[in-house]
Amino acid sequence: MLIAITRVIDRVSRLASYVAIFLVLAASMVSAFNALFRYSVSGLIYLAGPEGGGVFGAIFDIYRQNSNTLSEAQWYMFTGMVMLGGAWTLKVNEHVRVDLLYGSVSEKTRTWIDFLGGIFFLMPMCIIMLYFTWPWFLVAWNSSEGSLNAGGLIRWPVKLMIPVGFALLGLQAFAEISKCYLALTGNYVREFAYEKPLQ
């Protein structure tokens, strides 16, 4: 039963992580496009001539009206990358640890560390963060808070991402705690052994 629940949670985190993974590509492309366009802005102004207008002037105007949308979209995507990817990163055990002790103790002790750490560190943190960030999202939602920049994006989606991310992380934390519990009481084997992260 508990195993079934952890599988469902793993699946949910995986789905969220797909979004986060594709945001990496999307954010790079949007940012590169934005930068390339900025390099060519002076060229466009030159081509459009002193009065503006014409094809180049029109392109320039479109860019000018949308550049803030693009640059804000970049960090919206960054937020998505982090908050939606955090849970999966926990699942595959890639949140970096200080492995002075952890690297040298037995698998059983590690399971105990993860079990207690999950209960006393991670779960309370997620709950407290949800408690703080959810009302904060609601304020942005109710007031339809927008960007201060012209052409900027509306704020609630990015603010929603933070409580959603902590909720996902909390769910995954529950799954990881359950896995530790199963490993400590039964013969469940945790699949992601600890490895030093690549950097």
């Binding site: 990496v24 002075l100 943190m125």
Partner: protein, 486 residues
């Protein structure tokens, strides 16, 4: 009793952090949990107001809306793509053949390629693994001393940390509140000196211990004339073009590091496409590992912000600042203390943790002592490089162990690292003695443009709303303030 606890809240919090970090639960969550625990404890004791913790949301939001940190996924993504497109192979073979006929030629090739790879990929793992796989067997075959061979490969891989555009410098710039462009310029001089130091050491060896670094026999140099030339060109041209795009635009003030990183991603894809290695599989794997690294790093940063919010609330920054500025010897005493401290703590923490947790604690004291923060950052970066080389935990040695042939003993890898750690410490010493190595390039007027780019950032880290507006840079110059569309 209560008064006693209130008075020693900050030191207790710091001790709690150390204990909880050592246990080995992921650093990001330990940091946040310690911060929150002491936060509620302090509210209970009346040290801070209950509303104080409400700032948490703004702290998190300011991390996530920081445009500078976007450079982390971009540079990582770029590195992951380049790592697999065969550039390192071409470079190493070309330079190895080119320098083959001099003593220590393969070592020089490794150092130069390490610097080039450092400038384009920015990950130690990628450099060490690529060079270890290609050069180590070759060096062993031609009779290089094994300790020297493993040492030069691991050390050249770590040049990546200091040579721009490196993630460490971006992260340090953010932690110290400096412009990453300035940080890059400052680190350029230091990384050149480092390459020269390494090459100088090989040169000394080739005179006093020629049997350690023999020249290649003529039959080993299969490429000659035009073939050799083309091999070098094939490796060099794309690398230099990419370096020019990424660093050039940052130095000229045309692009922020973030945008340059994104351009670098596109450039890396083009290079991979030319090498016919650009597959969807490669891109997807790159995206996945980039996402995991980004989430990991940013969660640490968020955890560190939660911790430091409460830590400052209970007067922690005063405590640290008093302790550090009270050190005997003023500036010099402070520098010696911090450098030794960071050197030691780098045995246990990786550089993201040092940059996010330790550096913000050191920065106010450095400011109070009137230390140039760019210089200080480059010093820290040079110092943290050694953390990759410390036996037995150094990442560079760890990666090398993973790919080295069986006949290479771990003890060889560890002993081989020692001279290079000493060289890196000499670099730190030189940087302390001659700050001009860092600041020389900074005094040029072009830097003024770079300063402008970053003017928006303080507003962001203050948690205010608003993305950096790079909307309409008049004729290529970045806007000086986040003004709405003109």
């Amino acid at each position: 009793m209560t008064a006693f606890i209130i008075h020693y809240m900050a030191p207790m919090m710091f001790a709690g952090l150390i204990i909880f970090m050592i246990i080995g639960y992921p650093a990001a969550f330990s940091l946040a949990a310690v911060g929150l625990f002491f936060g509620f404890f302090a509210i209970e004791l009346g040290v801070i107001q209950p509303e104080f913790l409400g700032n948490l949301t703004y702290q998190l939001y300011s991390v996530l809306s920081n445009e500078l940190l976007l450079a982390i996924p971009f540079f990582t993504f770029m590195g992951v793509i380049l790592e697999r497109c065969g550039l390192a192979e071409d470079l190493l073979e070309g330079f190895g053949q080119l320098f083959g006929n001099v003593r220590g030629g393969l070592s020089y090739a490794v150092i130069i390629v390490g610097a080039i790879l450092g400038a384009i990929t920015g990950t130690v793992a990628a450099s060490v693994i690529a060079m270890g796989l290609i050069s180590l067997p070759m060096m062993m075959k031609y009779g290089y001393n094994i300790r020297h061979a493993t040492g030069v490969i691991a050390a050249s891989g770590t040049i990546t940390q200091l040579i721009p555009p490196s993630l460490v410098l971006i992260v340090l710039a953010d932690a110290l509140g400096q412009s990453p462009g300035d940080m890059y310029i400052g680190a350029t001089g230091a990384s050149i000196v480092q390459v020269l130091l390494f090459a100088g050491w090989v040169f000394i060896l080739s005179i006093f211990r020629p049997e350690y670094v023999p020249a290649l026999p003529p039959e080993a140099r299969t490429l000659r004339g035009w073939d050799l030339f083309w091999k070098c060109v094939r490796g060099m041209v794309p690398s230099l073009a990419l370096i020019a795009i990424v660093l050039g635009t940052i130095f000229m003030g045309l692009a922020t590091p973030t945008e340059a990183g994104a351009m670098g991603v596109v450039g890396a894809m083009i290079i991979a496409a030319i090498a016919r290695r650009l597959t969807w599989d490669l891109v997807y794997q790159g995206m996945e590992s980039t996402m995991k690294l980004t989430a990991m790093v940013v969660f640490i940063l968020m955890g560190a912000r939660v911790f430091s919010l409460v830590f400052q609330g209970v007067g922690g920054s005063h405590w640290i600042e008093e302790m550090l500025t009270g050190l005997p010897g003023g500036q010099v005493g402070f520098l010696i203390f911090t450098m030794v401290f960071v050197f030691i703590i780098a045995f246990f923490l990786d550089f993201f943790e040092i940059a996010f947790i330790i550096v913000p604690l050191l920065a106010p004291a450095a400011v109070a002592l009137d230390i140039n923060l760019i210089w200080f950052g480059v010093l820290l970066c040079a110092n943290m490089q050694t953390s990759f080389m410390h036996p037995p935990f150094g990442f560079a040695l760890f990666y090398l162990r993973g790919i080295a042939p069986k006949e290479v003993k771990s003890s060889d890898i560890y002993w081989g690292a020692i001279p290079w750690i000493v060289l890196q410490l000499i670099l730190v010493g030189l940087l302390v003695a001659f700050p001009e190595m860092v600041t020389f390039f900074l005094d040029k007027p072009v830097v003024q443009d770079l300063n402008n780019i970053q003017i928006e950032l303080p507003a962001l880290s203050g948690g205010l709303d608003g993305a950096p507006d790079l909307g309409l840079p008049a004729l290529g110059l970045p806007p000086a303030s986040p003004a709405p569309t003109p």
